[in-house]
């Protein structure tokens, strides 16, 4: 084994250990904030794996989109629905956990056997490496053009849909001296809000 292959192998073992350890932390830890940060660890080690697979562009896209957007969004969601109330314990919850663990272990065994038994048609061409981004661009505008356009439409739909689902009611103008109406309170975190009229006082002075 050459030095390069040895380094690749050791890096792969480290990244796999980091990824699987973080993934176990995501699903097993009680504190959900720890799980969210370990999910970021999973995403970063996945980007490392993509670099091992000669895919620099997709690794950068993974860090930007998953760590930068999805993980931050999940953390915002956790902060907004942070109900600090212990969950009522279910009777015999360990039974469902053991059963699910058994099913997952069986599925993993099945997949491993399938992976090891299949005669993969490994290609001996050299990977294009740095030319991947040009090739991806060519694919996006030739044979993957329709999925590309549909993905943009889907992102627009998801944007509008998320706003419509998560928005609150229209904030009415309140004259000074009147009590704050209930609609101004944040349903997730009730606290003091500045009404629209006092803000307009500040802008006029």
């Amino acid at each position: 084994m050459t030095l390069g292959q040895g380094v690749q192998f050791v890096t792969f073992i480290l990244l796999a250990a980091m990824m699987l350890g973080s993934a176990l932390g995501v699903v097993l830890l009680e504190n959900i904030v720890y799980s969210a940060f370990l999910l970021g660890g999973v995403f970063i080690s996945m980007a490392g794996m993509y670099i091992l697979l000669n895919a620099g562009f997709v690794a950068a896209a993974q860090v930007l989109v998953y760590v930068g957007a999805v993980n931050v969004l999940i953390l915002f969601g956790i902060m907004l629905v942070n109900k600090r109330q212990p969950l009522t314990p279910m009777a015999r919850a360990w039974l469902s956990q053991v059963a699910t663990g058994g099913v997952c272990a069986g599925l993993f065994a099945l997949l491993t056997v399938a992976v090891l038994k299949t005669p993969w048609a490994l290609s001996d061409l050299t990977p294009i490496g740095e030319g991947a981004i040009i090739e991806i661009g060519k694919h996006f505008f030739s044979d993957y053009l329709l999925p590309f356009e549909l993905a943009s439409v889907l992102l627009l739909i998801a944007l509008i849909g998320a706003i419509v689902l998560a928005r609150r009611e229209f904030i009415p103008d309140v004259a000074p001296g009147q009590p704050e109406p209930d609609t101004l309170q944040l349903p997730e975190r009730p606290r003091e809000l500045v009404s629209a009229s006092s803000l307009s006082d500040l802008s006029e002075s």
């Binding site: 792969f12 895919a55 998953y66 999940i74 490994l122 290609s123």
Partner: protein, 101 residues
């Protein structure tokens, strides 16, 4: 033997995601488990692209689409969670049982 290593790691990540999806009581942890499963699928696609199709890299294009779809789905899923939390004042999956018989 390198391709099989990546596929086995992806299979393990997928099974961990399924375990989290079925057993979590917090609905945000369910969303995180779905992201784990999508990442496992992405790792599979990228491994196949590197070892079976290194010049055409169709697997990488597919993986980019999966990343964008997963981000959109995470946004909509969290909007739904927020909306449910306002109505039911809980994020416990055991309480979301209106469709149960």
């Amino acid at each position: 033997m390198q391709l099989q290593y990546f596929l086995i790691v992806a299979a393990a990540l997928f099974c961990i995601g399924i375990y989290g999806l079925v057993t979590s009581r917090n609905v945000i942890r369910v969303l995180m488990s779905i992201e784990l499963m999508l990442n496992a699928v992405n790792l599979n696609l990228m491994a196949f692209s590197n070892y079976l199709d290194p010049v055409g890299i169709n697997g990488q294009v597919f993986a980019v689409f999966v990343i964008s779809i997963a981000a959109a789905e995470a946004a909509v899923g969290l909007a739904i969670v927020l909306s449910i939390y306002r109505n039911r004042d809980t994020v416990d999956m055991e309480q979301f049982n209106l469709l149960k018989w």
